[in-house]
C-alpha cells in the first residue's frame, strides 16, 4: 500500500491532509489480491483490514464525513467506504457516487487505559464526577453512534458533562485513551482489538447498541470504474468477508447460533 499522497487540489485543507497521512498505516505483507492504480477513501476504522485484503490501492483513512466532504469537492477518489449508510446515501442522492452497497457491521465499546485510573467497569460509571471522556464529534459516524447510545440510555447529560475532548475520527479517540490522556472513550470494537495491551474494553449493553452498518460505493467521476468495481467486489467476496471477520467485523446477517443440547462426547472433547 502506498500512503495517501498530498492531493493536487489546492482547496483541500492542509490540516485535514496532514491528519490523513498521519493515520495511513502500512500494509501487512500478507495482503491478498492486488488492484493497483485506484484510490480508496475509507473510514478510519478500516485502516488495518482493507490493506490486509488488498495492498494494491492507495488508501486515505479518516472520518467518513471528512472523506465525503473531500469527494464533494472533487477529490480524486475512486471508491468511498463509510462507517455508516447515511453518508454514502447522501452522496448517491447528489449523484456523486454509484449505488452504495452494505459490506459489514460493527459494534461500539468503551475503552479505558490499561491502568483504568477512573475504575470504570460499566457505562454508567462514565457519569461519575471527575471522569474524563473523549468522543468523536457528532459529524463522524462513531460520534453520532456514541450520542445515540447515550440518548437511548438516558445518559446524555451526565456523561457529556465529562467529555473533555472531541476528535475527527475514531483512531484519534483510541490513541488518546491508549496514551492515558483521558479516562475513557467510545470506539468500535474492531479498533479496540488493534491495541490489546494498551486498553481495556468495557462493553456497551446490547440493548443500547446502534445499528452500525458500513456501506461503500464507486465514485462516479472515477476514471478507473472497472478497477473500482473490482475492489468493491473483492471486499464483498467470500475471501474479503472472511478477512473482515478475522479483524473482528461482523457479517451483514447474524449467523444462526448453535446451542448444545447434550454434553460433548469423549470423541468430540478430544477434538
Amino acid at each position: 500500500m502506498r500512503l495517501a499522497p498530498t492531493p493536487a487540489r489546492a482547496f483541500l485543507a492542509a490540516a485535514v491532509l496532514a491528519a490523513l497521512v498521519a493515520v495511513g498505516g502500512s500494509a501487512p505483507a500478507t495482503a491478498g489480491a492486488n488492484i493497483p492504480g485506484i484510490t480508496v477513501y475509507a473510514a478510519a476504522s478500516l485502516t488495518d483490514v482493507f490493506p490486509a485484503i488488498d495492498s494494491g490501492p492507495t488508501y486515505s483513512f479518516a472520518g467518513s464525513n471528512t472523506l465525503a466532504a473531500q469527494i464533494t469537492l472533487g477529490a480524486p477518489a475512486d471508491v468511498f467506504a463509510s462507517a455508516n449508510t447515511t453518508i454514502p446515501a447522501q452522496l448517491f442522492a447528489k449523484g456523486l457516487v454509484e449505488q452504495p452497497v452494505n459490506f459489514t457491521r460493527n459494534t461500539l465499546v468503551i475503552v479505558v487505559p490499561k491502568s483504568n485510573p477512573a475504575g470504570i467497569k460499566s457505562i454508567y460509571d462514565l457519569a461519575n464526577p471527575g471522569v474524563t471522556i473523549d468522543i468523536a464529534n457528532s459529524g463522524v459516524p462513531v460520534g453520532s453512534y456514541t450520542l445515540q447510545i447515550l440518548n437511548q440510555m438516558n445518559l446524555t447529560k451526565p456523561v457529556l458533562k465529562n467529555v473533555v475532548s472531541q476528535e475527527t475520527d475514531v483512531r484519534e479517540v483510541l490513541s488518546k485513551v491508549a496514551l492515558g490522556q483521558v479516562d475513557a472513550g467510545f470506539v468500535y470494537s474492531t479498533d479496540a482489538q488493534t491495541v490489546p495491551g494498551q486498553v481495556t474494553v468495557v462493553g456497551v449493553p446490547a440493548w443500547a447498541q446502534p445499528k452500525v452498518t458500513y456501506a461503500m460505493a464507486v465514485v462516479k467521476n472515477s476514471p478507473h470504474q472497472a478497477q473500482a468495481e473490482a475492489f468493491v467486489k473483492e471486499i464483498l467476496s467470500k475471501a474479503g468477508q472472511a478477512k473482515m471477520l478475522s479483524y473482528g467485523f461482523l457479517p451483514l446477517v447474524k449467523p444462526k447460533q448453535k446451542i448444545a443440547t447434550k454434553p460433548p462426547t469423549k470423541k468430540h472433547r478430544k477434538k
Binding site: S122, Q152, T156, P205, W207, A208, A260, T261, K262
Partner: protein, 202 residues
Amino acid sequence: MTLTRSQFFGTGFALVAGATALSLEPATALAQPPTGATGAVSVADLAYVRMLIGVELLAADFYAEAIASKHLRGRTNEDAVTALVNETEHYNYLGFVVKSAGGIPLTAADVNFTYPTGAFYTAKSVLALATTLEQLSLGAYLGAAGNVANPVVQSAIAQITATEAQHLSAFSLRSGGTAFQDAFPQAMTIQEASDALGAYTS
C-alpha cells in the same frame, strides 16, 4: 389478536422450531397492546423500555431454545410455550411504545445471546436457568414499575410484572423450589438490570 394456548399449539408452534426462526416484530398477529396510545414518553422512560426489550428478547430466545432442546415434557413444556407467547406479546407491546416515540426497537437479529455451558443439557439445567432469568426479569420490571413516569406505560409494566412473577413461581416450583418467596421481591436499578442482562447478551 391474542392467541389462546390451543391456538398457539395448533398454529403457532412452528415459530419455535428454531430460535432464530422466531421473528419478533411488533404488530404481528401476536401483538395486542394492553392499552391505547401512550401519549408522550420521556427519554428516561424510553431507556427503561429499551432495556426491558432486551430482557424480553433474551427470555424469548431462551424459551425457544428450551423448547427446541426437547428436554421439557408435558405441562412443563406447555408452560415454556406459554411463557414464550407471553414474552413475545410483551416484546410486541414494548416495541410499540418505542415505535410510537419515533424509535426503532431492538430485534433478535441485533443481539447475540450467550448461555452458560450446559444450560440446555438436561431438563434440570433448563429449569434452573429459567428460574434465574425470570428472577432477572422480575427485578428489572419491578425497578421499571417504580421509576417509569408515563401512567399508561407504567400500567402495562405492572401487568407484565405480574406475568413475570407467575413465570418465576411456575419454574421455581418445577425446579424443586417453592412457588412463593419474598413478600417484597427486590427491584433492580436500571444499571443492575442492564449489567445482569449483559451476562447473556452482546
